[in-house]
């Protein structure tokens, strides 16, 4: 039998103690290798190493890393046993409902709740008057109340809430609440928010910018602007992006329960339970230790469940008042009125290239519509700029951005936070430049990439970069050379790239490098199973699985022996939450460092038992043994029981914090990350020039995730990102009338692609093996969304020769552009539009040579442990090892506009031009 074969070669070792079956009380005599029977063999991981070294290489035991691993909580989901927000049913529960504002902007004169309160079955009616403490996800921009205190700021803003015995009574009570509003002039158009008005939507006191509705402004200039004055070619574009919603399938829901102990347990599908925890303490005015935040299963987040929400406060307030559990569940339209989706934005972008085919300047101006509240907007404003300064080496970067308040539901963080729209503009600009230079856009990109271990123009530290592999693999997979500019009219292919942070270097709530970003606790008791306590929120992306995999790999155990407890803040160490694509990177790193401590104890115990040196031992599949003579060693359980002698359960704690990095200029921390992901997609489309209908036929999607810990999940994330991005580029749009009424707060008219709109996606995983990532991994959850938008837009150009500048590209918009071009060319049919062609110029050869040279350079840098620093600016003739600002006195590094600039803005950026100079001089923003 195979079991016997397994035991062959196993020798009794000197000093080996008799081993008793766990739970037997130690009296039963040692039976041979019983524990190997008890622990299932793991199915084996993927051992082939991506190129390069990682600090966790020696920890690989071949257990699960790299194996297609089903999600550890999947069986709950497929059997219907997973409990999401609304599935938490506590005995004696009440139903909570929220009264929402019917006005865009109004002052509340008075609220009369007496009639509602007198309805039979209504137990509590609450308004904002008593709960005036502000909260918000970012400590610098707290501007939300549990319910409106003085003003309502958008349709759907919370006014009052009720708790009743059942839903129909609750709804009726809402109708009986009388609110006296003084309607104010709403601001709907984001451009108008730049002007001074009598009554700005918020008042930020001394931080307020004039009397405008500008919430946050950013100005940044880096690099040498000489070359921009006289560029060889330029591409200028003005973009309009519609706002989009996350469209997760589970509407928000929350259950609040004050337990007999006087403590609150809040059950909520949250991405960032810790911030809710803090906000609850602020609003309820109780210490944090009196609150347990329980994260239920989360039915999709994508950023839309990462703010602390007013309705969560309402549930807690109602439950405190009534002494009974209160459950609030949203209707789908409430989800849209809560929003926090991607910012509608106006982006102007000028891209310049020089004779050598180098990108000598990117000038961007972004005006983004934040809606009624700040949410993550402070960060979004930076991200719209800084996240397109890579992966290319650029000569200068100029960014002005402004986020404004309007009387619409608040925008916030959504998959690809702040980077998606401006990335789309950059990638289209590059295609346009290539068209003018008559070169191939993939070659152009390959010839302008930053190398591994380099620094971007804004000072971000790039470690691993798999961009080149992504581009090359996609080029090959999609048969680019045969297709680009060669497909028949109406049929096209396009390329797009992406760059995204893998975790944000600056934690929102505390000074970096003092507290860790993530902490993980492990506990192993007599049973041998490993319990992981972590606060990381699994929102469906599989973070529980990744952390279980990491621990199982280090300890050489099958994943079935690992259980993850990640739901209750009472038992989980703080994790900052599932945003910024930080969980795999930070949490798995913390888990590994906790597991290493357990591993060391097991090795020490083995050394004691076998009387060998600790250094000579390694952990393999369920066994700890000598590396040079694998027959010498003990099983996992034997080692464990030895280690537990005299002290009981093994526990350990591991933490992760980012290394110190980044520049010192204002805003330098925005966009800083311990690693960055890269991606390149090609999309093939068919466009019907007579109707403007675009159909995406196939997508080749290469993403550099460092190392695929779980390829099944990485592929799922890539395909899912494509789906979401395709929605934004083709159909999805939160449509407002001029007066600001939302036309489509439902899933019928808000068009999420169904299976019929979904093309075949070929996921290509590129592994660049990040030196600091857990086993080399980086993020794969958000970055894969970025390239799909430009890839499709560029493909539309390849198909019919028309560049869009407005998303989504609905047939009506595209047809208008087609019609315009047909008229201007005096054609008789759209079918006669010229099909774009490409004849390479001489520059193509130059670029090909440069790309080849850089490829060698990159390989050398990656493998050379003694590599020198490399600063952006080198291909423009700077010495690579010295920061360009130290070599070139014209090299700017500035975050405040000069007088000269204010008098004569470089880019007619609406965000800056229209705001009065007076406010800027005062420098009065946070």
């Amino acid at each position: 039998m195979s079991k016997d074969k397994e035991i062959k070669g196993y020798r009794q070792q000197p000093g080996k103690i008799p081993f008793a079956k766990p739970g037997s009380g130690g009296r039963e005599p040692f039976s041979k290798l019983r524990d190997l029977e008890m622990i299932p063999k793991s199915e084996g991981g993927y051992r082939a190493q991506p190129k390069g070294k990682n600090r966790h290489d020696h920890l690989l035991t071949g257990s699960t890393i790299g194996r297609r691993t089903p999600l550890v909580d999947s069986n709950w989901k497929v059997t219907g046993q997973a409990k999401y927000g609304d599935d938490i049913r506590l005995p004696n529960e009440l139903i909570g409902r929220i009264l929402r504002s019917p006005h865009h902007y109004a002052r509340i004169r008075s609220i009369d709740t007496s009639e509602a309160e007198s309805i039979k079955g209504v137990l509590a009616v609450e308004t904002g008057q008593k709960h005036t403490d502000l909260f918000g996800v970012l400590p610098v921009t707290k501007d939300e109340h549990a319910m409106a205190v003085d003003k309502v700021r958008h349709v759907g803003d919370l006014v009052a809430c009720v708790a009743a015995e059942n839903e129909s009574v609750a709804l009726e009570a809402l109708r009986k609440i009388k609110v006296d509003y003084e309607v104010l002039n709403p601001i709907i158009d984001m451009k108008k928010s730049l002007k001074d008005v009598e009554e700005p939507i918020h008042n930020r006191g001394k931080y307020h910018i004039g009397r405008s509705n500008v919430q946050k402004r950013v100005f940044q200039e880096f690099g040498n602007f000489e070359s921009v004055k006289n560029p060889y070619v330029s591409s200028k574009s003005k973009w309009k992006y519609a706002g989009v919603n996350h469209g997760f399938t589970e509407p928000h829901a929350v259950v609040a329960d004050w337990e007999p102990s006087g403590r609150l347990t809040l059950y909520t599908p949250q991405q960032v339970p810790h911030y809710v925890h803090r906000s609850l303490a602020d609003v309820l005015k109780i210490p944090m230790h009196q609150i347990n935040v329980h994260r239920t299963f989360v039915g999709g987040g994508f950023g839309g469940k990462s703010d602390p929400f007013p309705h969560e406060m309402c549930a807690a307030i109602l439950a405190r008042k009534t002494g009974r559990p209160v459950r609030i569940t949203f209707d789908r339209d409430e989800v849209f009125y809560t929003n926090r989706g991607r910012h509608p934005s106006h982006i102007e972008m000028n891209l310049h290239a020089d004779k050598e085919g180098r990108i000598c300047g990117i000038e961007t101006d972004a005006l983004i519509d934040g809606g009624g509240f700040a949410s993550f907007g402070h960060v979004t404003t930076y991200y719209n700029g800084v996240l397109h300064t890579a992966p290319y080496e650029i000569g200068s970067f100029h960014y002005t951005g402004a986020r404004v308040w309007t009387n619409k539901p608040a925008s916030g963080a959504m998959r690809g936070h702040g980077a998606v729209n401006s990335r789309c503009a950059v990638e289209l600009g590059i295609d346009d430049i290539c068209e003018q230079l008559e070169v191939d856009p993939i070659t152009f990109r390959l010839a302008n990439l930053l190398p591994p271990h380099s620094s971007t123009i804004t000072g971000f530290r790039i470690t691993s970069i798999g961009m080149r592999d992504c581009l090359e693999k996609v080029r090959e997979a999609c048969d680019w050379e045969q297709k680009f500019r060669k497909l028949p009219f109406g049929h096209g292919i396009g390329i797009g790239c992406g760059f995204f942070i893998s975790g944000s270097g600056l934690p929102i709530h505390w000074d970096p490098n003092k507290f860790p970003h993530a902490t993980v606790h492990l506990k192993i008791d007599m049973d041998g199973g490993v319990t992981i306590h972590t606060g990381a929120a699994d929102i469906g992306q599989g973070s529980d699985t990744v952390v279980a995999q990491s621990v199982s790999e280090v300890l050489g155990l099958p994943i079935e022996m690992i259980r993850v407890k990640s739901r209750d803040s009472d038992t989980s160490p703080v994790d900052l939450g599932s945003y910024s694509s930080r969980v795999t990177f930070m949490n798995a790193n913390a888990a590994i460092s906790a597991a290493i401590k357990i591993r060391d104890e097991l090795i020490k115990a083995t050394a004691d038992i076998c009387n060998v040196e600790e250094k000579s031992l390694v952990i393999g599949d369920r066994r700890i043994y000598q590396k040079k003579d694998p027959a010498v060693g003990v099983s996992y359980l034997e080692a464990l029981h030895k280690a537990q002698e005299e002290r009981g359960a093994l526990i350990s704690s591991g933490a992760y914090r980012t290394p110190p990095m980044g520049g010192v200029h204002k805003g330098a921390a925005a966009g800083l990350a311990p690693a960055y992901s890269f991606s390149a997609y090609a999309a093939e489309v068919k466009v019907d020039a007579e109707t403007g209908i675009t159909e995406v036929v196939k997508v080749w999607a290469a993403h550099d995730c460092g190392r695929a810990l779980n390829p099944l999940s990485v592929e799922g994330q890539i395909i899912g990102s494509c789906h979401m991005g395709l929605g934004q580029v083709l159909t999805e749009e939160m449509r407002y009338t001029k007066k600001g009424n939302l036309l489509n707060p439902n899933l019928l008219e808000y068009k999420i692609p169904t299976i019929h709109e979904m093309p075949e996606v070929v996921p290509i995983i590129v592994e660049s093996n990040d030196p600091e990532g857990p086993f080399g991994a980086k993020e794969a959850g958000e970055g894969p969304l970025l390239p799909i938008l430009p890839a499709v837009c560029n493909a539309v150009y390849d198909a019919i020769g028309i560049r869009t500048n407005e998303l989504p590209i609905t047939p009506d918009k595209l047809y208008k552009l087609i019609e315009k071009k047909v008229r201007s060319l005096k054609l008789d049919s759209p079918l006669n539009l010229p099909n774009p062609k490409l004849n390479y110029s001489k520059l193509q050869n130059t670029l090909e040579d440069r790309a080849d040279n850089h490829k060698v350079r990159d390989q050398d840098r990656k493998l050379d442990p003694k590599r020198e620093p490399y600063y952006n600016g080198t291909i423009f003739g700077k010495v690579s090892t010295i920061p360009p600002e130290e070599q070139d006195e014209r090299w700017t590094l500035s975050v405040t506009p000069s007088e000269e600039y204010l008098a004569n803005p470089r880019l007619a950026g609406s965000a800056w031009k229209h705001v009065e100079v007076r406010h800027m001089k005062r420098g009065d923003e946070t």
Partner: protein, 193 residues
């Protein structure tokens, strides 16, 4: 005003007794209002919380259940219409702790990420596989066109259907998958395989 008698705004229908066979269990002691929606009855009265409410408007497919074997959106179905019928929800797909092939392959092929849409997909696909044990891509797409999934981009769902069809056609019984995670001796099981 506040002392006026209580008049409900939503007319509540008359209560009458209702019965159905839900996941092979007979429910015959329920009293429901004549305008009760099946989704509400299943979730709130029967306690089948596996049936999900994504929109309440017939646009997401999360609430799909089988009524006499045919997929129907329970948020658009009056409970009264289903009186005496056979209703299957996701909870009724597994045979004891032996998962339905599609449940097993959803796990293995990544058909479920956040899992909120999963119950809807599973019942629709189980009905499809019941009729057609070897559906092609087109047939699969047509079957699940009414179900939205925001996480997976559908591709791994289609993969799961093909994998499940393969299991069905090979006539293997699906191994006790719910237990693999909790079985104290799965190792022994595997070594004797």
């Amino acid at each position: 005003m506040s002392n006026s008698p209580h008049v409900p705004m939503i007319p509540t229908g008359q209560k009458s007794s209702w019965d159905a066979v839900i996941n092979n269990r007979i429910f015959d002691d329920l009293n429901i209002e004549s305008n009760a929606i099946l989704l509400d009855v299943l979730r709130d009265s029967v306690g089948m919380l596996g049936v999900k409410r994504g929109c309440d408007l017939g646009t997401c497919g999360c609430c799909t259940v089988l009524i006499d074997g045919v997929p129907k959106l329970s948020c658009l179905t009056l409970a009264a219409e289903t009186k005496g019928k056979q209703i299957t929800t996701v909870e009724g797909l597994a045979n004891g702790s032996h998962l339905h092939p599609i449940q097993k392959t959803f796990t293995e092929c990544g058909g479920s990420q956040c899992g909120f849409c999963t119950p809807g997909f599973l019942v629709v696909i189980s009905a499809l596989l019941n009729e057609n044990s070897n559906p092609n891509d087109r047939e699969i797409k047509d079957a699940i066109e009414g179900n939205l999934c925001r996480c997976t981009g559908y591709q791994q769902i289609v993969d799961s259907v093909h994998a499940a069809a393969e299991i069905l056609n090979s006539n293997q019984s699906v191994k006790d998958n719910t237990c693999a995670q909790v079985d104290p001796h799965p190792g022994i099981d595997r070594t004797t395989e």
